[in-house]
């Protein structure tokens, strides 16, 4: 049986795992946006927090993903077996690119533009809402794009703690020594990553046009 035949024969299963996978990545990137963008903005306002917070999210990034999933299993409330634990870990991984790009995006704005805003009598909130955020949005979306692509890859490992997703095929294939089954998980995951990269890339370019002054 060829790979294509296998995919067709198991299409319902492949589709269900793909949806699970998207849910894992979508919700974790969503949480990371919710936490990461305000954190990045905070860092532009409080220089003293920059090193500890960037350092912290950097350190998370260095923990091997399988180990992080494992560490979280015994933790009460956020741990255990299943999707919830995986989403916590994936959110943590997604933080770095989002926090850093939010910070760098705002920092990278022409100082003359910010100075004008201040000197015209904009409040800090007005400056953020009307100048800094719109001008940094392209870079911020770039961070979300990176977080999403990385997340789609890492989420395959979440199957190891019973979170489902396309990784289920991969782990099954490994234990069965069956490449076809591995590919039934790996290929849709790769396609998802490519699609997310292209789609968010379009969005990133759209919001970046103000940077090419």
């Amino acid at each position: 049986m060829s790979l294509l035949d296998y995919l067709i024969a198991n299409r319902a299963d492949v589709l269900a795992r793909t949806v699970e996978h998207l849910f894992l990545v979508g919700s974790s990137v969503g949480i990371a946006i919710f936490i990461g963008i305000p954190t990045g903005i905070l860092l532009t306002r409080r220089a003293a927090l920059r090193k500890p917070i960037i350092g912290f999210v950097n350190v998370i990034q260095t923990i091997p993903s399988l180990a992080l999933f494992g560490f979280l299993i015994p933790v009460p409330l956020i741990g255990g077996i299943g999707a919830r634990t995986a989403i916590v870990a994936l959110s943590a991984y997604a933080l770095l690119p989002i926090v850093r790009n939010t910070y760098e995006g705002i920092r990278g704005i022409d100082p003359a533009v910010r100075e004008s805003g201040v000197a015209m009598g904009m409040t800090d909130a007005q400056l953020l809402r009307e100048v800094e955020f719109p001008l940094a949005l392209g870079v911020i979306v770039g961070g979300v794009r990176l977080a999403t692509v990385i997340g789609i890859g890492i989420a395959t490992i979440a199957a190891a703690i019973g979170a489902g997703g396309l990784g289920v095929f991969i782990f099954q294939g490994i234990s069965m020594v069956n490449n076809q089954v591995i590919l039934a998980g790996a290929i849709p995951a790769a396609l998802l990553a490519l699609a997310a990269d292209a789609g968010l890339g379009l969005l990133e370019r759209r919001y970046s046009r103000w940077r090419r002054a």
């Binding site: 022409d110 533009v113 100075e115 004008s116 201040v118 000197a119 009307e130 001008l135």
Partner: protein, 249 residues
């Protein structure tokens, strides 16, 4: 070095010192700038000119002494109110690249909550004033304009809410000589016509002569000369002499 005693100058520096880090930027600076006059602050790079302007809109605060705007120390002003009371034009222009020319010009009036109709009328009027007809330029983005046109928008933006004080920090420094000359002439006309207190920073003595009703020369954070351009031209103070245009041989 004392000036005519009008009751309250629009801007008055009362023995102002400014220390940033461990650098004495300004040392016991006195001067007054009156409404309807352009006061040029002249000096070499690092003389403290730009810092002096930033004291007026309270981006900086004096280490000692007081900067009085309409007779009140800047430290007693609400900084937001103060900044809406003072227009600001800088060399690097700083237009908002994601907003149209019209939206850039309308910024301060919009922050002040003007209604739409008045806002649009004012924007068109200002663009006309700086020589950029609204019909043609209102909808463009800053990057679609030349440097000279961008700075015209910068001037219009600074004047939008009709602030009694206008601060200009080498606004024409980055423009080519022909455009610069053109804008200087128009700026002079505007300044005379609008009756504002203009504080204009430059290191270009010719510009100082063209635009200034009064010249204040700063050197190493001190006022070494204050007077009319004619007096400046005759001054024998070494720091002033160093600034005189070289005689043509």
């Amino acid at each position: 070095m004392t000036t005519d005693a009008s009751p309250t100058a629009a801007v008055e520096f009362d023995d102002v010192s400014l220390r940033l880090g461990c650098v004495d930027v300004l040392r016991r600076v006195p001067f007054r700038a009156a409404s309807g006059e352009t006061t040029v602050i002249l000096g070499r790079s690092g003389a403290g000119k730009s810092s002096a302007l930033r004291l007026v809109n309270r981006i900086l605060e004096p280490t000692s002494g007081a900067v009085l705007v309409d007779g009140r120390p800047t430290t007693e002003w609400d900084p937001i109110a103060l900044r809406r009371h003072t227009g600001y034009v800088i060399q690097r222009i700083g237009l908002f690249p994601h907003r149209t020319v019209a939206a850039n010009v309308a910024l301060v009036p919009r922050l002040l909550g003007w209604e739409r109709e008045r806002l649009e009328r004012r924007t068109a009027e200002l663009l006309e004033l700086v020589g950029l007809p609204a019909a043609e330029y209102a909808g463009r983005y800053p990057t679609e304009l030349s440097g000279g046109q961008q700075q015209r928008v910068g001037v219009a933006r600074a004047l939008a809410a009709d602030p009694p004080i206008l601060l200009a920090d080498e606004p024409f420094g980055a423009l080519d000589p022909v455009t610069r000359r053109e804008l200087q002439v128009e700026f002079r006309r505007l300044a005379t016509q609008l009756g504002k207190a203009v504080l204009f920073v430059t290191h270009d003595v010719r510009e100082a002569h063209r635009l200034g009703d009064r010249i204040v020369l700063l050197a190493e954070g001190r006022v070494v000369f204050a007077g009319s351009p004619a007096e400046f031209g005759e001054s024998r103070i070494p720091a002033a002499v160093a600034f005189q245009p070289e005689d043509e041989a």
